[in-house]
């Protein structure tokens, strides 16, 4: 047997995993009865259904008329495993970090970055990273520095990086954001660090 459609194979596997996960986690909630459905009732049915469909899609991958490769993108298993280990470790050892919150946040961030990088695309990684940094930089560093971070990292995710253009774009967007979002719409952002 040969897998003919990589897309179907991975999609099916993903649906099975997600369906099973939703159905299994639901068992921790009260099931109730058909008359009075508990919080577990609906997700159990849906999770089971999703897993079944996943099985059908996986089977279809072996008979598909369309052929496409099993390797859809440059997946990096090592990064993925690293991300899961660090992420899960931090999650379960939550209580242990109570005096070192910064360390915990750092580990969660590292786990996320590894997760983003695991899927291989350069543009993908940099765009997601730009969003992540922007979100967490906005409060401590202020709007303007957060914009600089977002624009520079996301511009690096493109094809050609032109210093002059990026500089002008950053300045224009920073000025526009300060006047538009903070002054105009009244969004409660810091403009500069530590305000």
């Amino acid at each position: 047997m040969k897998i003919r459609s990589g897309r179907d194979f991975w999609a099916g596997t993903m649906f099975i995993a997600i369906g099973v996960w939703f159905a299994v986690v639901a068992q921790y909630y009260p099931m109730g009865s058909a008359v009075r459905m508990g919080p577990a009732y609906f997700p159990t049915i849906l999770g089971g259904l999703l897993a079944l469909l996943g099985v059908a899609i996986t089977i279809r991958a072996f008979f598909s008329k369309l052929e496409n490769p099993l390797k859809m993108f440059a997946f990096r298993p090592l990064y993925f495993v690293g991300s899961v280990v660090i992420g899960a470790g931090t999650y379960f050892a939550d209580a242990w970090f109570k005096d070192m919150l910064m360390v915990e946040y750092g580990l969660v961030g590292l786990s996320l970055c590894l997760f983003f990088a695991a899927f291989g695309g350069r543009s993908l990684f940099l765009i997601l990273l730009a969003c992540l940094f922007f979100g967490y930089a906005l409060k401590p560093l202020g709007l303007i520095l957060a914009i600089v971070i977002l624009i520079v990292i996301s511009a690096l995710g493109g094809h050609d990086f032109r210093y002059k253009e990026v500089t002008i774009l950053t300045v224009v967007l920073a000025v526009f954001s300060v006047y538009g979002f903070v002054k105009g719409l009244g969004l409660p952002f810091n403009v500069w660090p530590g305000e």
Partner: protein
């Protein structure tokens, strides 16, 4: 037809003609045209981005503006299709085929003029259709109980999967995935937190805007970057005479009428809307009359899909306004916007808030008028926008997405979640899993569970209630028939062919 329609329209005009609402209508169609012209950003991402901005507006103004963005984008999208062979918006893909050929023959002006006229005509007709058909439909919907609502949502979801691109089974799986994701957060009945990992940020559920921005906004940018910038010949300087000839007008008038009819009908269907309408209209035009000119600059190939997508964009508001059920992802966002404003979407909107309902409908007609004025004489200005390279555009789009999501609740967590959904959206694209049915499932998930619970409680746990209530049985019957028809080999083949041109 009685006096109540005139009375209702009078209420609508009274609301829509206020200076403030005219302004927001104008802003909506202006923004809609802008994003329609710019490739790489669609109405969905724009509405998602602007949702937080509309928090502070009165509900009528907010909805008028958001609706304007959607149908405005249909106008703008045709401009880029014709001039650059680059659809600014998914529904304009089909216009590229003949519109671009016309531009190459130096007839860009007439193509643009016909597409604007067709769109305006379709917009007017669709507005009348909404005004005529929405009230009786809402009256029927008021009699619906939880079982009927559940069945209606099933039909809506089935419709969305049947009309999605590509594999049917994957579309169904994506819908269920959406339903499951919609359940994350606190369960309304028991107060229990489900699937939250103990994170307080998730106790209210995953924000709809976050999911939509991640899957449609971010994933779109990433895919565009991976494809690289494509170089198309731009026929910017060749837009000379706008006036179409007599022959153009004569041959396209029939196409406009047919396109409007198809678009209006398909827009109402669950899962329908602008995209499907334009495809169907083009296929029909090819079947009727002489097909030889198609692909070589046939004006009917521009007139029909452009009228159809505009009509479809507008009539897709009917299920939203009367039943409270979204027929496509943009309508799902509109529901989100209504909920944020404290309005429960459903048949009661029309009776309890006539200003909102009729004001929105009349604003659509006014908006269409504004669009003709915005588009035809000012075409040169929009064309100049096309010279802005994508490498400048996308960091700005990214910034707006990030700011929009952050401002939902001022939490970095939401931005992180958006990035995560951006990743998911990108992976789903690679797997050819259509995200549109998922987003409908996501919106309907909690509603479906709620109605299922109520229906079962009322029937004392007897599931046969879904088969014995007549309306309910009919709705579920249609869903099953739809699914079976789609699985039939003949339909399956044409369905695959219909979407292959994209």
């Amino acid at each position: 037809m009685d006096f109540s329609l005139i009375h209702n329209l009078a209420i609508g005009f009274g609301t829509a003609m206020s200076l403030q609402n005219l302004f927001y209508c104008f802003m909506g169609v202006l923004l809609g045209t802008l994003i329609g012209v710019l490739p790489g950003i669609g109405p969905l991402a724009t509405i998602a981005m602007l949702l937080p901005v509309t928090f502070s507006l009165p509900p009528v103004s907010a909805l008028i503006m958001l609706a304007g963005i959607y149908y405005g984008a249909q106008y703008g999208g045709s401009t880029t299709s014709i001039l650059v062979n680059l659809p600014g918006e998914a529904a304009s893909v089909i216009t590229c085929i003949d519109g671009y050929q016309m531009a190459r023959q130096g007839r860009a002006g007439p193509a643009l003029a016909i597409s604007a006229m067709g769109s305006f005509f379709a917009g007017c007709v669709a507005t009348v259709i909404i005004a005529l058909f929405a009230p009786p439909l809402a009256e029927v919907a008021l009699k619906f109980g939880p079982a009927e609502y559940f069945a209606l949502m099933v039909l809506g979801l089935v419709g969305a999967t049947v009309l999605a691109h590509g594999s049917l089974i994957k579309a169904i799986a994506m819908t269920i995935l959406g339903l499951l994701l919609g359940l994350v957060g606190t369960d309304v009945n028991s107060g229990m937190a489900r699937y939250t990992f103990g994170l307080s940020e998730l106790s209210d559920g995953i924000g709809f805007v976050i999911v939509a921005m991640g899957i449609f906004g971010l994933a779109e940018i990433i895919s565009n970057l991976e494809q690289g910038e494509s170089a198309s010949e731009v026929f910017v300087n060749k837009v000379t005479g706008l006036m179409p000839t007599w022959k153009d007008l004569k041959s396209s008038s029939g196409a406009i009428l047919r396109g409007t009819a198809i678009g209006s009908a398909l827009g109402i269907l669950p899962g329908g809307g602008a995209l499907l309408s334009s495809f169907a209209a083009y296929t029909l035009e090819k079947k009727i009359g002489d097909p030889s000119g198609f692909g070589k600059g046939e004006i009917r190939g521009v007139a029909a899909p452009e009228s159809a997508n505009n009509a479809g964009a507008q009539t897709s508001f009917i299920p939203l306004l009367t039943l409270g059920i979204p027929s496509n992802p943009v309508m799902a966002l509109m529901i989100g916007a209504m909920m944020i404003q404290g309005i429960a979407p459903g048949p009661q909107v029309m009776t309890e808030r006539p200003q909102l309902f009729w004001g929105m409908i009349v604003s659509m007609w006014i908006g269409n008028l504004m669009l003709v004025i915005l588009n035809l004489p000012m075409i040169g200005m929009w064309v100049k926008l096309l010279t802005v390279p994508y490498r400048i555009l996308y960091p700005a789009i990214l910034l707006f997405c990030a700011v929009g999501v952050y401002s939902l609740s001022n939490q970095p967590f939401d931005v992180m979640l958006m990035a995560l959904f951006g990743l998911f959206g990108w992976v789903w694209r690679k797997m050819e899993c259509e995200p549109a049915p998922m987003i409908l499932g996501f919106i309907l998930g909690p509603l479906m569970e709620e109605n299922l619970r109520r229906a079962m409680l009322l029937s004392r746990g007897d599931p046969s209630v879904f088969a014995t209530k007549p309306i309910c049985a009919v709705l579920l019957g249609i869903s099953i028939v739809l699914l079976l028809i789609t699985l039939a080999p003949a339909v399956r083949k044409t369905r695959e062919e219909a979407f292959v041109e994209e």
